[in-house]
Symmetry: C2
Subunit: 233 residues, 2 copies
Amino acid sequence: MAGDDAAVFLRAMPLFAGVPDAELGPLAANARVERYRVRDYVFMEGDEADSFCIVREGRIKILRQSRGGKDVVLELLGPGEPFGGVAVIEGRPYPASAQAAEASVVLKIPRERIVALTERHPGIVREMALMIGRRLRAAHDAVKSLAVDPVEARLAATLLRLAEQDGTRTARGLALPFHLTRQSLADMTGTTVESAIRVVSRWQKRGLVRDERGRLILADVTELRALAAGDSG
Amino acid sequence: MAGDDAAVFLRAMPLFAGVPDAELGPLAANARVERYRVRDYVFMEGDEADSFCIVREGRIKILRQSRGGKDVVLELLGPGEPFGGVAVIEGRPYPASAQAAEASVVLKIPRERIVALTERHPGIVREMALMIGRRLRAAHDAVKSLAVDPVEARLAATLLRLAEQDGTRTARGLALPFHLTRQSLADMTGTTVESAIRVVSRWQKRGLVRDERGRLILADVTELRALAAGDSG
DNA sequence: ATGACGTTATGACGCCGATCATGCCGACGG
DNA sequence: CCGTCGGCATGATCGGCGTCATAACGTCAT
């Protein structure tokens, strides 16, 4: 049902590098393809972890919310990036919600399938461990930043990380390949919309960033890096 | 050189549950036992990751420091807990420093040994993945807390987590089994010594916690839980 | 068209908590 | 014994930034 293109998609992932085509085909065939509109939830914190998910198109936010309604965005994932894997192999409910930041397509592999596959191919577990390790480092970076850096530095660091991860070089500067709301930006840095708006507006006036049809473009990367590092000049 | 007691110690770890005694003996024999005094560093951020470490006795802080000299404690580990594993299997330098919070003993297994063992026993990798996953969740908890909770709530949550993890029940309340400096507490919650001192003193006066020879005892757990949850009563 | 809604924008106000300073106490070493 | 040092305690001050309010603008559905 998912079709051959799903198999091709899975084939391209480092996670399944050690799995032969003969097994990847059936896996793809058992995967469901789900479409989400902006603000739709893929799953909610506390849901039973029945699927291993992979972003096919769009952006998925991993977030938790506090009583008080404020969202905290823990991760922002793009095409090719898996999520929900830890909960699935642990057999526990999802520890956070997954929400579409824009219209998105997600590949969902049933729990039993992925578990069975990992038992036959330990390489997958190894790749997963490495991936989770990278995310742990990222989370630790966030902790450190929230603990010691002022809002402006956190915002600069966040934009730089996103841009360096999957931004595109243009004549005008480093461009984020997707629309990012000031609200999302605030939720990613532990601040408020107003503060995010104020800081970014200030940067626009100073020519550090540009806003082209909703897409942010980092014009002065070195200056932003200085701000992220805590220098005040 | 490490002796048989090291083998017994490793045997008790879930991480090596799938490894036969015949292999655990040589592993223990190749492990080094290192002693550290308070404030000694096991390794520093950026050091080449040449050892997989396990806390044998004492407490080890995993921390990063900002220009400005302020420490951020990411994890506080007790006996039986491994660290430095992600960096070792990834072959990258340690992403954070490890420092003794009290006099401690650490078991250090050379990189090649642990890597070779994981190749023969994929179960270790699986256990590692689960462990890193748990730590990732803990890190995400910290991110959320730093992003939305006020200082008092963060301090309460931190003490509760430590106490529930390896505290001991006493007549007076839930006791932390080790001495925790206000400075360390501040570094774990992203605040300053002064704030940590003020909050804890206030709690002592209200009878929520007691300080017995440096050891903190949580007398009113339910009230602390309410504070951690953000209620102001 | 025309509301409704989401996003960006800007100002006024207030407070939490960081910063700075000062003092006390116990431990430890010369 | 007394100087030094690390940890705990408390007050005064000030600023970053969260909160609240208001408004302009673009998009979409009816």
